[in-house]
Structure formats: C-alpha cells, structure tokens
Subunit: 571 residues, 2 copies
C-alpha cells in the first residue's frame, strides 16, 4: 500500500515558479467546469468581500478529524492504543461510579485480508448505558457527564470514545458497534452508530435487541486502521501499567495472535470513591464569577456565595459581601461588572479554607511501592504521597515512587544490547491512567530535569534525565488534570503542579541519597576490610618474629588489632 512516489528525494515538482504541466491541466479543467475566471488561480489579491465569502463555521468534529493527532491518532500504532485507552478508561470509570469491581476484557482481532485493519472490542461489567444516550456518547464529540463535574475521574472531556469511533469511521468507513444492558430484567440492545462530522451528530444505522452474556455491562467495538506491536508505548504496556495502578480491577487481554494475558484482581476493596465538589472561590476568575452570578438559580448574593461555591459559610458569605460593600440580599442576576469586580477583590482578600479533598484520592505510599515491585526488581524503593494542593481552584495530589538499582536495567534500554548506562525511566500516571506519550512535554519531565539529582548521588547531564538504573513513577490526581492536549498524554506546566511534583521527587530523592551514600560507604568499607583481612596475618607474623611471641599471643594480638582498626571507622 506504500505510495508510489517519494516527494522528499525525487519529486519532479518545480518550486516557486510556474506550476508544472499536470497541475496546470488539472486546474484549467477544474476552472472551466466551475465556470470561474482562470485569473483567480494566480495570486489575485483578496478583498474584504472575497474573504468574507469564505468565512464559515467549522464543526468541532471536522476540526478534530483534521487535527486528529490532538486526540492521539497520529499514526496507526498510537491510534490502536488510544482507541483502547479511551474505551478502558470509560469502562473503569463506569464500574467505579456504580461501585462494581471492574472486569474489563480487551480483544484485538485482525481483519482478514488487510494487515493494518483491526476490530477492537472492550467489554465491561459496569452498569450499562441507557439506550437513548448511546448514540450521543459514542458518536458525538463534546458530550458527556464528567465535564461539568468537579471530581476525579479518568474521562473528563466528553471527546475520547467518540473520537476513537470517528477515527475508525475515517480510516475504514465502519460504524461503532455497541451492546449494552442496564438490567438483567431486560434484553440487551445492539447499536451501530457513526458520527456525521459536518454536524457533529450521531447517525444510527442499527438499533435492535440482542443477547448479552452479562447481567449488566457494555461492549464497544471499533474497526480501525492500526498497527499492533509490543514494546514501549504498546497496548500491552498500557494494560500492564493500568493493572499496576488499579489493583481492584481484573483485566483480560486477547492479542491478535490469539494469546491471552490476564491481570487478576489483587484486592476486593474498591478504591477511594471521590465525591463531587463545588468550585472553590479562589479558582474563579472575574469574568467567570460575573457569569456564574448572572446564571445562578439563587436569589440572594449571600446564598449564591454559600451554595454555588465550596468552603463559603454563611458567616464568610456575609463578610465577603460587607467587604465588597454589597448587600447580602442583592439579586445575583442583577450583578453589574463593577460590582462583580468588587466582589472578586473581596473574595480574594478573605481567608478561606482550602477546597475539600474528598473529590480526589491518592494511590497511597504502600500501594505505590507494591505497584513498582510488580514491575521491577530493585535494591531500593521509596515513595511519597504529598498533601493535597490547589491550582486555579482545583485540588490535586501528587505522588512519586522510586526504584533504584533495578535488576536487568530499568526497561529503558533498547531491548537487544543491554544499555550499560541508561537514563532514568519515567513512568507517569494521571488519575490512575498511564501516560505513554509526550513525556518531554509533561510537567513531570520538567520537574525531573529541574531537580538536582547529583545531590542524591546520581550523575546528570545538563538538560537531560539523570543516569542510572532507576525508575521513577509519578501520579497526579485531580478533579481536572490540565493536559497539554485532548489526547491526554502530558500534564501542562502549571507552576503549582510542577512545584508539588518536585517536592514529591525530592522526598523520594533524599531517601535515595541516604541509601546511595550508605552503599558507597559500604563498598569502600568492604574494600578496606578486604585490606585488613589480607594484611593483618602478615603483620602478625612480622610481630611474632620481631617480638618472639607465641602463636596464641599472635592470634590474640591480631584479633585485638582487627577490632581496633574496624572500630576506628564508622560503617
């Protein structure tokens, strides 16, 4: 299927001068048919009117179809991973919301006759999806339940799974197939839907009842152009890391070559279940505050502050109004911009408690190390879960865990020839989801680079990761993880977040430094002890000869000397 030309080396294309013949012909005929003047084709200046004629709406699906690398569909291998990732994220979220221990099955089947066409199915035992929501959820961008909710979840944008379906449609023309069942009392329903990219609306192609082997749950199948390949940034690695961060989930994976990999549940305890919160006043900007007030369902300014925000008590609401010289009974919808400004200033000069943090949950220091141990065997582990912090009013928690002296390298080498001096391997998670791409764009990478690893006994070149057989895992949990793109591969450089990551790393690093220095001392000690063991008998013999001692006296002397010598140094 390779293209028949290689433009970069031998394209017979003239640059910057008259268009070559083939092009001219095409154009001439195109112009003739379209009935336009030929002159439009060659550098005619635009006017405000000619430009206005071209201005129009861009549908959000058209936008993402053209920009699909923003969604993680840059190339076939990554596309396969992204589609699975979006479906698995949704499956885990749905199960946890319904307090069900998740069992997620991922199938990848090759399509006969086409080496780069795959059918991907992700099936879960979640609560199922209400029939009339299916088309919107799977074939409409920017539709979902998590965007308007302030609590930790894997999905947040209402884009992912519809984008995967859209990519499948664009590359194979096939619709998304969904089977879902919300109660054992009713049969499952079977849908075929596809997105109409011009309108960003779902087209329903099939809608009928069907059999399903689970009492409740959802199965989604996407046919797409992809490439299945193991190794770094593979589906295999993603599922392994997902299992590591989600010990409460069973994950079963059937590869295209017919193998089955199973990650059984490690614990029957559901993880921390986050609770939705209201926005914290400190995170709200003037324009947003103004808009919230005007759209509030409350009738009085005091109630608006108390009810539409977290951490504002009646007393604080009154204090804020008083400081802003506004009546507590002012109708929020009548607020003017000037009044909003005063309110904004008053809020930001009032002492408020940090936002509630029951909306986010860490993995925990112990579980982090357990997770690491499942991945690498190392001589030293450390971990750190920071206290919650806040960026733009959103609570977040950073955790880090470190494995040093990994046996068989840290997995950062390139497989065949063992890398003798590898750089640190960085493993990143956001809301328990592994991030496999765009490492160098991530706040974690920035934080690692800005940490002075020499302090902890490691070597580090300027502008590079530290060297050594170590693996660093960083987890960021937040009600709203600020990703650098819709594909959710890297965390944006908010200063508060970078700072917290650094603090978590430093905590792990300090423990590592103690270990590394102690190791170094032990090594030196061993060398010195070796000397003592080697030379002491000779000294004994020499002393015997000089002082004419008996054998027993020599032994006692040597023993004493050894103790004294070893005592004079600290281990």
């Amino acid at each position: 299927m390779g293209f028949a030309f290689d433009a970069s080396t031998e394209a017979p294309v003239a640059v910057n001068d008259a268009p070559p013949k083939t092009s001219d012909q095409t154009r001439a005929s195109a112009v003739a048919t379209a009935g336009k003047k030929k002159s439009r084709r060659v550098h005619q200046a635009a006017t405000a009117e000619s430009m206005a004629a071209k201005q129009r709406d861009i549908s959000v699906s058209e936008f993402f179809a053209k920009n699909r690398h923003l969604l993680g569909f840059d190339n076939p291998r990554k596309a396969l991973l992204t589609a699975i990732k979006e479906a698995v994220d949704n499956a885990l979220d749905a199960c946890e919301e319904a307090h069900i221990l998740p069992t997620v099955t991922v199938f990848i089947e090759s399509c006969p006759g086409s080496e780069n066409k795959f059918r991907v199915t992700v099936k879960d035992n979640g609560p199922g999806i209400v029939s009339k929501q299916v088309p919107n959820i799977f074939a409409r961008l920017l539709y979902g339940s998590k965007f308007h909710t302030l609590k930790m979840s894997r999905g947040q944008q209402g884009i992912g799974i519809s984008a995967a379906g859209m990519y499948g449609l664009l590359t194979t023309g096939e619709p998304v197939e969904i089977i879902t069942r919300t109660t054992p009392k009713k049969p499952a329903i079977h849908y075929h839907v596809q997105i109409d990219t011009m309108r960003n609306q779902p087209d329903v192609i099939l809608d009928q009842e069907c059999e399903f082997d689970l009492p409740t749950g959802t199965s989604v199948t996407i046919t797409l152009e992809g490439r299945y390949q193991k190794g770094r940034q593979s589906v295999d690695e993603y599922l392994a890391q997902t299992a590591m961060a989600n010990p409460h989930a069973t994950i079963i994976f059937r590869t295209p070559d017919g193998n089955t990999v199973e990650y059984p549940r490690q614990t029957d305890e559901l993880p921390f279940i986050p609770i939705e919160i209201k926005p914290h006043p400190y995170g709200v900007e003037l324009g947003v505050l103004f808009k919230m007030a005007r759209e509030s369902s409350t009738k009085k300014l005091r109630d608006f502050l108390r009810q539409d925000f977290s951490r504002v008590s009646e007393r604080l609401a009154e204090e804020i109004c008083k400081k802003a010289k506004l009546s507590v009974n002012l109708k929020p919808e009548k607020l003017t911009l000037k009044e909003a400004e005063k309110l904004y200033e008053s809020i930001n000069s009032t002492k408020l408690v940090a936002p509630p943090t029951d909306c986010i949950g860490p993995i925990g220091e112990e579980k982090l190390i357990e997770g690491l141990k499942r991945v690498v065997e190392a001589e030293f582990y450390s971990s750190c879960t920071r206290k919650p912090a806040v960026y733009r009013g959103n609570p977040f928690i950073v955790e880090a865990a470190l494995a040093f002296g990994c046996k068989n390298g840290n997995g950062n080498g390139n497989g065949n020839d063992e890398d003798k001096d590898p750089l640190m391997r960085l493993v990143r998670f956001a809301n328990r989801v592994p991030l496999l791409y765009q490492q160098s764009a991530c706040a974690t990478y920035k934080a690692v680079l800005e940490t002075n690893w020499r302090n902890y006994g490691l070597s580090q070149s300027k502008g590079a990761l530290p060297a050594g057989s170590l693996l660093l895992m960083v987890h960021i949990a937040s009600v709203w993880v600020p990703f650098t793109s819709e594909s959710k591969e890297a965390v944006a450089h908010y200063p508060e977040i970078v700072k917290e990551i650094k603090l978590a790393i430093q905590e792990c690093g300090r423990k590592l430094g103690i270990h590394v220095r102690r190791q170094k001392r032990i090594r030196e000690e061993m060398v010195k002890r070796g000397y003592i063991e080697t030379y002491l008998p000779h000294i004994g013999e020499a002393l015997r000869d000089i002082l004419s001692l008996k054998e027993t006296q020599v032994q006692t002397l040597v023993e004493k000397l050894k103790v004294t010598l070893e005592h004079s140094r600290k281990l």
Copy 2:
C-alpha cells in the same frame, strides 16, 4: 491579591476520611435547597439512569474556557503573548492575502489601578473586515476562512482571536473592541462583541460608525489579565523574531512603559503568495474518500477524481476507475463502502505526481542567514532549504539555519552570569510564525536530539541538546502544520516531518563539521607555527656555530627550513 492559604504546606484539610465540618455544612444546606436526598452526597453508587441524567452537551467554548492552557492561556505572561500573537498573525495574513505590504502596530497599555490588567491593541493596514462577519470572527470559536483552505497561512483553525477575546472576557469581564474599514469611501465601524460561552455565539454590545485614520484596515483591542516582562518567551522576543521571518512587514511596538520599538520593512517585495490546492489523493483515507464522494457536486466518478483532487488527470482518473473495476460514469453520491474500498486501493496503487507546492513558500537559504545575522554575530553560518515533501497528503517544506561561535553567547544563558558552556539555542518557526513555548514537545527538538552532533565536532550528552555557542533555526512551512495543541506551540512528531528536519539539520551540520574541524586544525597549526617561529632562530644560531656559517647563509638556511617545515603540513 495573593491567596490567603497555601494548601501545599499548611492546609487544614483532612484527607480521605470524613469531610471536614465546613464542607459538611455547605453540603447540607446545598442539598436542602436543591431538595435532594442527602445520601446522594456520600458515595452512593450510580446507576445507568442516574448517569444518563447527567450526560449532556459541552459547548466548544465551555470546553476551551476550562482547558484554556490548550489555547496558550496557562498563565498571565503567556496569555499576554498569545493574545498579541493571534492578533498579529491575523493582521499579517490579511495584508498578504490582499497583497498589501503590512504595517502592524502593537500597543500594550497598563490599566490604571490594576497592575496585572492590560489593554492590548493590534492595528493593521489590511483590507478590513466586512461588517456582518465581525461578531463571528472575534467572538465565536471554530469560525474562519482558513480551515477549509489548503494553503500556507499563519492562522488555520478559526479559534485564536476569539479565544483571546474569551480569555479577556473571563479574566476582566470586558468585551473585544474592533474598529474596521473596508473602503476609504465609507466610514469605519466600531464594534464591541463578547462570546456567549454556553452557546458559542457572539453577543454584540456596540455597533456604530466611527473615525479611523487609515483608508482600510482593522484594529482590535482586548482587555485582559496579563503580565508584561521582557526576556525569553516575551512579547518583545516574539515581535523581534516575527520581524526576522517577515522582512516585508513594518512592526511598531509600544510597550506599557511608553517606549516604542520599530522594526522597519527590509524589502518592498511581497513574500511568496501561496495558492490554494485541492487535497492530494494519497493523503485521503478510506472514510474521508467515501464521504467526499457522497458529498461531491460532480456527477461522474471520473470527474470526481479529476476535480476534487490535485494531480489526477483525465487519463489517470480513467486508469484508477479501471483498476478498481468501477465505471467512470458511476454517480459519486451512489458509491458504496465496498466500492470506496476498491477505489481507495486503486488510488494507492497508482503512480501519482507529488502534490503541487505553489501552496507553500520557503523563506530561502540566503534570507535565513540574513535573518540569523540580525539576531547573533557569529563566526560561522550555514543554511539549508529542503525540497518539498508530503505527510498525510499535505505538502511541507523544512528549512534550517545555523550560527556557530556566537559572540556574547547564543542568548541561551541566564542573563547575569555568562554561561560558559551553554546548550544549543533552538529557534523555531512554523509558516513564518515564531514558536516560543513547548520546545521539548516539538518535532524539531526530537530531530535535534536524534542527530549525532559529535559527528560535527560538538559535544552532546545523552538525551540533551548539543553544547556549544550555537543557534539553530528551523522553519516548517505547510498547508496544514500539525501542531500538538490549539495554542500552536510545537509541531507533532509525524515521522515524515521529523525525517525532513533531520535531513535539513544534517546538511547544516556537515558544513559546520568542516568548519569546526578546519578551525581545530588552524588552532593546532598556529600553535605549531608558533613553535617554528620561536625555535628556528635558535636552530640557525646552533647551525652557524657548528658549521661556521656566515650571517647571510644562516638567514637563507632559516628561510628554507621554514618553508620546508610549513610545506610539509597542510592547512
């Protein structure tokens, strides 16, 4: 205005156990008012129905308001830059489309009484904007003329300027002010518009005629929260680099402290004016092909191929149809998915000429070096403009230019204490627009890291940029630059693009290597020559004494020796 708590160090917030009291109170009252059961608040399992009730549409402006770091509005300093960048990009695009030599004025005024509030105005002498388009262009996301057009331009998404206006509205509540005039025969119009983020629609607040000091042109003013600071990644640097890549534009900049910086036009010649092209068949995927056929205005398959694509002649269209076993007279709108598959395979097994490249224009090798010379004084320059290449059917050109041995460092140091051993400074452009953020996420960065700079006589640590006093400039021009996010700060890692960048860098690098090695030889030579100059007279004296020569004989001998010695080595 600083917040009254620092959650990261002393937040009195309980984690993971019962919600603290304040929160409970807020919740209880919120729940009472909303008339819902309190139990919903504490970990109640969701059902398919309760989840369905929360699923809803997300407006594209809500999405970007929450994700505004995707648009480049992460922090006040970057926000100021991004707003100006979007307005200047539009101004330059509009002037060039209308074949007008651009004169762009940028004003930043501090707002009295608020240290981080600014009024930013960007004024151009372009063709102006048709009155009825103004609200949509400035207060509606995903609206514009460039998205559906395949030719090189700075803007491409229909997001930028409306996003800047939205950020201004969110942070200050102020609308966007526009004055525009499309003809000297009519007065200018003055608009105040703001985006309704819930509907992604413009609200017009003011619409009246007014005075304007230019015959045609546009002036846009945004009031926003920002921070003005010189140095790296500043507005100053952005405008300096813009001037460097756009010698045909005059740029005038008034800073908030009342200074004026002017970059006068360097040439009265308009740059290469790109021509719009049709998509190339190789870049079109099955699903897209299927959709294009069904929506085509043509009546016959042959005409569809000829007219809706570039590089398909009548003969080729017939060949493609024949190979796909489809009639040339088939109605495109009747095409089935199966037929589209056959057509797709047939297209991709047919030899086609690379796409036309009059849609993109390079800066050019000479102009690149001129540009570099304006920025750094160096001992060596080289540049390379590659031939056009293609990714996903989109033509693109890569250019690179290099300055080595920069006097006063490469500008990569941290100002005060001169960095003795700086890393390379990388300066990136896409369609003549400087890219100041997200360097490490960019395809150019990847290409630089994957180039072996030791081959060219430089030192380079693993995973880091090469060290040395050098500056590398890379320009990517394309009909559609694949940025890693909507803020257009870094280019995605398409393999074709990374490859071309590497080839361009290698070309510059080879020339650099020759220079570096020659310099090294010259240095060694100088040392050796120094030895000769120093010792030859002594050898002369010694020979005179040994052989009893006359003074003139000694001089001749020394001269001959010197010539022989120097001749025996090559410079």
